[in-house]
Symmetry: C2
């Protein structure tokens, strides 16, 4: 399935807790690379930049420049695309499973009460 492969860099980008934390930061407001390094003071600046590169390559971070500063903006569209085009089927699967479980429990209760 081609759509599955399209999503690959996005899933990979989301796979690291540090990167999800960076996204959480950028969800609140755009930040400079330096600002992010300050926020994640336990992480080397180069590490932050590598994570930003992964996020950028996945299209989850958009970069603008102001003088010598680099502003990193969240682009949540790829995440929404995954939600719309990939997760839907699985969510349905889960809901079906839950409702059949509910039905089975219902039958059991019925049986017990009769």
């Amino acid at each position: 399935m081609s759509t599955n492969d399209d999503f690959d860099p996005i899933f990979k980008a989301l796979a690291h807790a540090r990167r999800r934390a960076i996204l959480d930061c950028l969800k609140k407001e755009p930040m400079t690379t330096g600002g992010l390094c300050q926020h994640f003071h336990d992480m080397d600046r180069c590490t932050v930049m590598q994570h930003l590169k992964v996020l950028h390559d996945a299209g989850l971070v958009v970069v603008t420049r102001e003088g010598r500063e680099r502003w990193n903006h969240l682009n949540a569209l790829p995440i929404k695309e995954i939600a719309d085009r990939w997760i839907g089927d699985y969510a349905q699967h889960a809901v079906r499973m839950l409702s059949s479980l509910e039905r089975d429990l219902g039958l059991r209760n019925k049986k017990e009460t009769t």
Copy 2:
């Protein structure tokens, strides 16, 4: 954020295209390990089993046994949880961005037509 860490094994499990392909298979119907190996004939049986272990540890695959067969069932609930508890904020972010973009384009068109 603690919820972020709870999701870690799930995001990690979803990060590999082969594992997502396995989930796609199991979404259609439960399969034995052997059945999966037959389907992914270009992958070593041990590799399939390792992937199944990752999926199982993440709670995405539930295992039942029948004699010498092991049946792997999809459990999509963790995916639905991510959808409900993690993706929501980002989807909203995306929608907000799109609507502000729309508004800006609307303003531009207005300007152009006046």
